[in-house]
Symmetry: C2
Amino acid sequence: MQNRLTINDIARLSGVGKSTVSRVLNNEGNVSPQTRERVLQVIEQEHFSPSKSARAMRGFSDKIVAIIVSRLDSPSENQAVRAMLPLFYQQGYDPIVLESQFSAERVKEHLQVLKQRNIDGVVLFGFTGLSAQMLTPWKDKLVMLARDMPGLSSVCYDDAGAVQLLMQKLLAQDIRSVGFIGVSPHDTTTGQRRSEAYRAFCQEHHLTPHIVLGELTYQSGFELIPQLLDRDIQAVICASDTIAIGAQKYLQQQQIRDVQVCGIGNNPLLHFLFPQSLSVELGYGAGGEAAAKQLLAQLDGSATLQQLIIPGQLAV
Amino acid sequence: MQNRLTINDIARLSGVGKSTVSRVLNNEGNVSPQTRERVLQVIEQEHFSPSKSARAMRGFSDKIVAIIVSRLDSPSENQAVRAMLPLFYQQGYDPIVLESQFSAERVKEHLQVLKQRNIDGVVLFGFTGLSAQMLTPWKDKLVMLARDMPGLSSVCYDDAGAVQLLMQKLLAQDIRSVGFIGVSPHDTTTGQRRSEAYRAFCQEHHLTPHIVLGELTYQSGFELIPQLLDRDIQAVICASDTIAIGAQKYLQQQQIRDVQVCGIGNNPLLHFLFPQSLSVELGYGAGGEAAAKQLLAQLDGSATLQQLIIPGQLAV
DNA sequence: CTGTTAGCGCATTCAC
DNA sequence: GTGAATGCGCTAACAG
């Protein structure tokens, strides 16, 4: 893949000076049509392409952005990433993907590396434990996803809204005895916010809350739902579709058919396996798209910091 | 994140010449301990880090590799990617992730872009339709995953072996009437190879083959298995765990409990939902690891082209 | 051991 | 319109 032709070579080959070639390359005006044509021809012929490193050094942007996901195999993050990719490509940016594994330390390391390169921007999938301190220096070129932080651009999902959507739907069906399977409040969004929204809704509507907490796994749903059944529940809201799958499996196994299971995330598998489930689409794709757009806008200076919330909506 | 300090600045600040700083930076020998110490101190103090672009231009590698996945949300590719990441980081390489979406055209475009940067190497998740022609120029710095191609390094999964493993296991249980749900042979590995292995095994062991073909979705498994049941099957091998999940759902729904379902991929969800399933672990993680290692070895010149096959093994 | 010089490939004055 | 210099930040070859 050694295309070691330089701008000099093609200048020689087309019988012009290097600066003229440079002008053609950058679509500048002051070049006669014939000359331009000739140069373009040679470029085409020799498959010449200017070295990014060199132009990066000229103070130009390297057109690289970084995406720091927490886990590459998280379906929600996946969806978001897939949504941003085309947007970045389209603007000529190539994305470097890093995995933080929910470790603030790793994020720090990655940021360190990104600094050495001339990274243009960063999309960071937030998680609990990230400190504002290490992020603030990046504020102009960073967008955080799924978490917010003062002084930083962010795109968040509407955790509370999702729970409310589900509760309202249940209430409309006159279901008033609803349980909740959540995860540790240590996790700010999936954990704390969703549990809190449930609790608040119950209080507001004079319902008795039934909360059990576990992990973000189907095993957890499977193991925890019995505790809720003991309390004579008509429906259960799971903090995620993964948990919901586990819960459904238990119900199916016990041949219990009169408990409505709700999840969050609109996982297609949940619908396939248990079509009677209710889920809310949090808008992961939309979130990724929004984050990419926001970052791009920040980079070209057409936007300042901004905190966005993506609305969710009930899935069938 | 403007670290606009140059090697010159820190040379001035520490009262030495720029080359000395360069020497310190590159851990070269010919620097007195005191000087080195002083320089390092300034570097530390000023949070200086050398510009990658500049050193890349000096003919050095940019330490970037590309990973071209077909779909970011493919669990198998995900697993492989996650396995390579740490290996690359460790060697100072940052991976750019591109998505091909199974389009040879897209791969071509991506390769084009990668050429402009000084990409060091590429891991390409192969798929049907890739032409050797566009890949050959990259052969020294490319490793293909999940497919092989003459003249290219590759790491493949043992599709045929996986099917044989399953068939042998079934045979050992004296199950001789086995169906197969596959996908179009247009897909070389998941499609053609697995179907072919099944067919060959049947022939060799004088079994009657029962093959139906669909897509790589759970819906497909759900819709196709009835055709096999008509033929009085004792077990069914699905070309993937995803299909197996669909098939299992149908059986469960019909309360059929005497058909052994087998899949390929060792998807944890399959085991959780239908523990009685049989699956074979193809070694996606091991594959990714092998691919990364092979690429790194090729890059530092310590290895030449090589085609590897990762053995699979029965999962519980 | 260390400073000086000369490019790497490109964009950008500035003359012609 | 176009070509000849100049410098980006860094490393390498050459002097001291």
